[in-house]
Symmetry: C2
Subunit: 325 residues, 2 copies
């Protein structure tokens, strides 16, 4: 009545993962791998499970009696057809939970767990930042004079780290809600970026050629006339109800691109403009299609990329880290 135990999984602690992600070539490799991941995704080679969500309605809360309770745990699973691995990611966060996460790499040929990556959520941060860089590379204007950043959190830092891989521009116009956090980030970046600060988001629309939005807003922060050419990379809106752009601004774009057509309707930045019928789903392309060669017009003045984060990105980054061990 005993089973065989052929092989035990590799448990990879956080410091080892962090070390791998700090390798000089990691960022550029991840950008290339994520770009290929989007191509696989949009060509139907990715097998995506429905997300399991625990702790959020209609389920019971994980912790009782917490004011403004917002915790949830998501289990995201999938695999590329014919790849060596499938990946299960568990991510938790929201008040009162501290953000944490791990990625599990399994063999497709045996079904067995090969590695447990105790990444504490940084691999999700990195694959998200890499998606921003992929968008900048394939959708950005040929000349970038100034980059705008909305938000001053961890993801803002990662986005800037990855943008450096795909643009020479080091002019940064920074906006954030909390003055101290803006100053703190400005100080942190001063050796690598020429940082200006603004209190008016619309100044970004007038002065920048790339804007990245990384807040957790649920109301439109960006609205107004656009000078252009401009690419807005929308990162913050990754679940139902979140948004950073006005639907008027979205409707001004002459090119709309998302990571996943399915997700953009439900949980991405475009959910609102689609629902208000200000843009049509048929006019939204997936980034993987664009990379794969469906032509983009050269005369785009306003391009908007909506990233809500797809599980293929988790697969790509988990595989990269595992194979670097």
């Amino acid at each position: 009545m005993s089973s065989s135990t052929t092989g035990t999984p590799q448990i990879v602690p956080f410091p080892e993962i962090e070390r791998i992600t700090q390798d000089a070539s990691f960022d550029s490799k991840l950008i290339d791998a994520i770009a290929q991941g989007f191509v696989d995704f949009s060509s139907g080679k990715f097998n995506l499970c429905p997300v399991q969500t625990m702790g959020a309605p209609p389920m019971a809360p994980l912790v009782e009696g917490v004011e403004d309770y917002a915790a949830q745990v998501c289990v995201k699973s999938g695999y590329v057809t014919g790849d060596a691995y499938f990946v299960i990611k568990v991510a938790s966060g929201g008040r009162p939970l501290q953000n944490s996460g791990l990625m599990q790499v399994y063999s497709q040929s045996t079904g067995r767990l090969e590695a447990l990556l105790l990444d504490e959520g940084i691999l999700t941060e990195l694959r998200t930042a890499a998606a921003g860089a992929v968008a900048a590379k394939f959708l950005g204007p040929s000349t970038v004079k100034c980059i705008g950043m909305m938000g001053t959190g961890i993801q803002a830092r990662y986005q800037l780290r990855y943008l450096k891989q795909v643009t020479e521009c080091r002019e940064l116009l920074l906006w954030g809600r909390t003055k101290e956090k803006v100053e703190e980030l400005k100080e942190e970046l001063k050796d690598e970026w020429n940082v200006r600060v603004t209190e008016a988001p619309q100044e970004l629309l007038e002065s920048c050629n790339i804007i990245v939005t990384t807040t957790c807003a649920r109301e439109a922060l960006l609205d107004g006339p656009v000078t252009g050419p401009l690419l807005i990379i929308c990162i913050g809106a990754d679940s139902v109800g979140k948004r950073e752009l006005s639907t008027d601004l979205v409707s001004k774009a002459d090119c709309l691109v998302c990571d996943s057509n399915l997700q953009t309707q439900e949980r991405g930045e475009f959910q609102h403009a689609l629902r208000e019928n200000k843009v049509k789903l048929a006019s939204v392309q997936e980034l993987g299609q664009v990379i794969n060669g469906t032509g983009l017009s050269n005369n785009r003045n306003l391009t908007i990329f909506d990233s809500s984060g797809v599980a293929i990105q988790d697969c790509v980054v988990a595989k990269m880290v595992y194979e670097s061990l």
Copy 2:
């Protein structure tokens, strides 16, 4: 840009889990805990995620070019409201994969992985066998003269191990498709059971007071007149299309009980009789309701319990093992 790493999970290797499950009091404790689990489940205290299934249609196969490919990986997750833990179980099997599995115990209050139980699937075997014993305890006839077993695999052995906890009867009538396997099991059991073998399944219906069916059949094996009083515990049918009883036999029962009303319609033994309209869902009770006190008639001649396996059982057994470490 670095995250904190508060605590690393406990990795529990197979031998340690096996040792815990061989403790003298483990089986009886698990039976009690599984009974309580069914009560929690039927009273709406269990939060159940939709199952993630990889490798089975409509998804791409995990392994290419295998004749009679039948592999799949299932991710089952859930938690009891107000409990300390939530559990994610990953189970893989089906040609050409060897059966394997693991259970992950997370803290509800932090969202963090506390323990990874590398159980190779035995905890699923045990929680399934414990459900059979719970059914025998709460639904079985007051006097048991003979127990019938259909099937000669691992689960048949575990069912008998657990039945010993809830009945004094040691008379066993054994049926299996493969003669050598029947003889092998008979030999294995001879010190603890008086084993008779039959080639006619209907003999079990005539001679036994409890029958457990543990085959992987997709056709009715059991059919014919019932002497009674008899409880049939149906274990084998746990997915769409599987079955071990004729729908005529099911329709003869004066008491139908299942683990989950939802699952029995889709993937349990009752799926066929329900679809053929030979029994009505309204006449099927959940085991948790029965344990919790909804009266059962004393004059039952044929009672059938349909177990397709619910995630609460995984939560219960994972928690028990974790707390025994």
